[in-house]
């Protein structure tokens, strides 16, 4: 597979949703909490000075981005971290980093070949 910093269109849409969902500190904190285990919306709201309604909005954003799924239990509906979307984002970022690593290696080689004009 070609390592390119530009993902395909479909992948880009999904990544956009993921990265945008991750752009909020509250949502990142929610994900960190979920990485320790499933939790109810009430449990997730507890660390924040925030209404359950406000937390529910964040949960919806995370759910739309594919980062979170909800259980079927009528009362509890536990939130579950969907790690694959997070891994996709991590994979893309790693490719992006490699793109620049490669480019900067090539730039270093190029600079060795550029004739230097010494000052004075």
């Amino acid at each position: 597979m070609v390592e390119l910093h530009a993902p395909g269109v479909m992948e880009a849409d999904r990544l956009s949703a993921t990265l945008n969902a991750l752009a909020d500190p509250t949502r990142r904190a929610i994900l960190e909490q979920l990485a320790r285990g499933d939790a109810s919306p009430t449990e997730l709201a507890a660390p924040f000075d925030m209404s359950l309604a406000a937390v529910s909005k964040h949960l919806k954003v995370l759910e739309r981005a594919g980062l979170l799924s909800r259980g079927r239990e009528a009362q509890w509906r536990p939130c579950h971290l969907e790690a694959s979307a997070l891994r996709d984002a991590a994979t893309w970022l790693e490719r992006y980093r490699r793109f620049w690593d490669r480019s900067l290696d090539a730039l270093a080689d190029h600079l060795e070949r550029v004739p230097r004009r010494r000052p004075r």
Partner: protein, 157 residues
């Protein structure tokens, strides 16, 4: 991946490097299209098109050819041009304002260290105006520490 959170609290991705060349040469290699074509993308990549209008508001139109022969048009707009130390450019064209991976602002700062040059690239994965970048410290912590844990969670299901 080195991730740094500057004093202002803006979370960004940072890539640092030192080149054995004076700053003016690094600046030229970064802003002269004929030179950019030779290194952008790295080994195995070709750049059949590179047009740069290096001034604030000027465009950078680029086509990169990957080793499999596929061509990828890229378009950027320069935001700040301060030779030979600071160049800022942002995604333009169709990806502009979309958020996510294609909507980047990149800042290269060059610092002279004798005959060597320190390179610092800062990437913000959002529009320039939005200082809350996608890569928060919490996010990278989740990615860094969490990935193994997350793998475990997925396997357990």
């Amino acid at each position: 991946m080195k991730v740094d959170v500057p004093k202002g609290g803006d979370p960004v991705l940072v890539m640092e490097r030192e080149f054995d060349a004076p700053r003016e040469l690094v600046w030229a290699a970064l802003t002269d299209p004929a030179q950019v074509m030779r290194w952008y993308g790295g080994q195995g990549f070709e750049n059949p098109v590179c047009e740069m209008d290096v001034r604030p508001g000027g465009r950078w139109r680029h086509v990169m050819r990957t080793p499999d022969g596929a061509e990828h048009p890229l378009e950027y707009v320069f935001l700040e041009v301060k030779p030979p130390e600071r160049l800022v450019w942002r995604t333009a064209g169709p990806a502009e304002g979309q958020g996510g991976p294609h909507d980047n602002t990149m800042t290269v700062t060059l610092t002279a260290a004798g005959e060597r040059t320190r390179w610092r690239l800062v990437v913000e994965f959002r529009s320039h105006a939005d200082r809350e970048a996608a890569l928060g410290m919490g996010f990278t912590r989740v990615l860094g520490e969490g990935c193994d844990k997350l793998q475990g969670l997925v396997k357990r299901r």
